[in-house]
């Protein structure tokens, strides 16, 4: 596909949330994941002509992202890697089969966020705001870090259930 077409730019820009989420899952380090996303974008741009219209853009993009994650892991110190080599390969293979999920989930997320009770929306907004952290929230609310972390986990779980239902029902 010609990289200069609006269609390619649309695919690339629309894929960003899902692509980042896919990278973060196999490279759970937010700074590194952002770096890899950017490297991936550049490669996608350079290799646009390799992409066949009509095939899954996300599947193609996540394959390239995986290559960049591998490169990044090689450069990282071993003690900074959360997953060992074997587990990384397992997760990356599994992730590759779910590439299109990321795209669908990204589209359903906003609706499900709107369904959350206001206090939960506020908590999520605080946690994911720039410089937001569970430690900061725990300090403000007089709760333990673990308690806030578990509350956030349950909210993410609720979002996941809502999104899965919408995806299954084709409500995107």
């Amino acid at each position: 596909m010609d990289r200069n077409t609006h269609e390619f730019v649309s695919l690339l820009t629309a894929s960003q949330p899902g692509l980042y989420a896919c990278i973060l899952a196999i490279l759970p380090d937010r700074v590194a994941a952002h770096d890899v996303l950017q490297e991936t974008n550049l490669t996608l741009w350079q290799k646009a002509e390799d992409f066949e219209p009509g095939t899954s853009f996300m599947a193609w993009a996540t394959r390239i992202a995986r290559y960049h994650v591998l490169n990044h892991r090689r450069k990282m110190k071993r003690d900074r890697l959360v997953f060992d080599e074997v587990l990384f390969e397992e997760l990356a293979a599994r992730q590759a089969m779910r590439a299109d999920d990321a795209d669908r989930y990204a589209r359903a997320l906003r609706h499900c966020l709107g369904n959350l009770p206001h206090e939960q929306q506020d908590l999520v907004a605080q946690r994911y705001a720039a410089n937001g952290s569970v430690k900061q929230i725990a300090g403000c609310q007089g709760r333990s870090v673990g308690a806030v972390s578990q509350t956030l986990y349950r909210i993410r779980e609720a979002l996941l259930n809502c999104i899965s239902q919408r995806v299954q029902q084709g409500l995107l």
């Binding site: 820009t13 950017q38 974008n41 003690d79």
Partner: protein, 336 residues
């Protein structure tokens, strides 16, 4: 094989409540950036060769990553259609406060840009960024006519003769029930002037050479955001999207003679985001992105766009029914 591993292969993590709790706690702690080294080892053990636990983990991290992009404009792409009016108004108030007492540097720059335009007998065709960075880590970049408050139709197809250039657009006041987010004017996307016909895209070039020292560290990034709105009419049923894009270059791509600034011009790096237009004409929808700047970046191209989600079959580009953008902002973040 440990008891935990035995349990993990016997079924879903929920089958063993203590194990499931442990796995969830560890995933939550990883998500929240508080996982210790020992806990990471434990997470490896729990996930290894356990497809169900791995699916649970991947599901969770997928939501985690999507939430980060949804809420964190400073770090990544961002859109805030769920931000309510009160929050938006609070942000506006904050922005007004910031602009009511601009730094001397910003004031000097704004004056320089405005007087420079006047002396040239028109608007500057390039934006000059703030000079060498201050000690602050965030430096607003002066995007000329960021809120379209000049009220003049600046748009044309030729990059060298206008500030915003690209497809057909007009600067309007209140229009079809939509009022500008700030000030008296906003930009209305009209239609495409080049193939394909489905997107109306506007660009502005920012000269980053005055910031070269900060960018050369390889630690600088740019955050871009813009607010969008659309009238709720039948055309909305087709579905539209709004987008913001950033393209970093090692030379001025505007020197090339073409309407579409990317054609034949390889950017050093790229970041962009498109969001479906929401159905709420009462609130403005923000789309924001971040681009880490390669060390040799000298120019930055900012793109704002409105597009049909379903390609049009019409031979002649159709005019968009009422799609607007206001308050385009750029902030350079540096590691001082």
């Amino acid at each position: 094989m440990t008891d935990t591993q035995t349990a993990s292969r016997s079924g879903h993590p929920d089958d063993d409540p203590s194990r499931a709790t442990s796995l969830r706690e560890l995933i939550a702690r990883l998500s929240d950036g508080v996982l210790t080294e020992q806990e990471a080892s434990r997470l490896n053990v729990l996930l290894k060769e356990d497809p169900i636990a791995q699916e649970l983990y991947l599901d969770h991290m997928l939501i985690d990553g999507l939430l980060e992009l949804e809420f964190s404009p400073a770090e990544a792409g961002f859109s805030s259609s769920i931000v309510n009016r009160e929050l938006r108004d609070a942000k506006q108030e904050d922005r007004r406060r910031r602009w009511s007492a601009p730094s001397l540097q910003t004031a000097v720059l704004l004056i320089a840009v405005l007087t420079g335009g006047a002396i040239a007998g028109g608007w500057l065709s390039r934006v000059v960024a703030t000079p060498s960075p201050s000690k602050s880590q965030r430096h607003p970049l002066a995007l000329v006519d960021r809120g379209f408050e000049s009220g003049t139709p600046l748009i044309s197809a030729a990059p060298a003769t206008s500030l915003w250039y690209g497809d057909l657009a007009e600067v309007v006041g209140p229009h079809s029930g939509i009022t500008p987010l700030e000030g008296e004017w906003m930009l209305r996307f009209l239609k495409s002037e080049s193939e394909p016909n489905d997107a109306c895209e506007l660009y502005q070039m920012v000269d980053l050479r005055p910031m070269s020292a900060a960018i050369a560290t390889g630690q600088a990034s740019v955050n871009a955001s813009a607010f969008f709105n659309a009238i709720p009419d039948e055309a909305r049923a087709e579905g539209h999207s709004f987008g913001v894009g950033l393209f970093a270059y090692a030379a001025d791509p505007g020197q090339q003679r073409h309407i579409w600034p990317l054609r034949g011009t390889q950017p050093l790096s790229f970041s962009g985001r498109q969001e479906p237009a929401d159905t709420d004409a009462w609130t403005w929808q923000q789309v924001a992105i971040r681009l880490a700047l390669p060390a040799d970046t000298t120019h930055l191209l900012v793109q704002v766009s409105a597009a049909r989600l379903t390609p049009s079959t019409a031979e002649i580009p159709l005019e968009l029914a009422g799609h607007f953008v206001d308050q385009v902002e750029l902030v350079l973040a540096t590691q001082d």
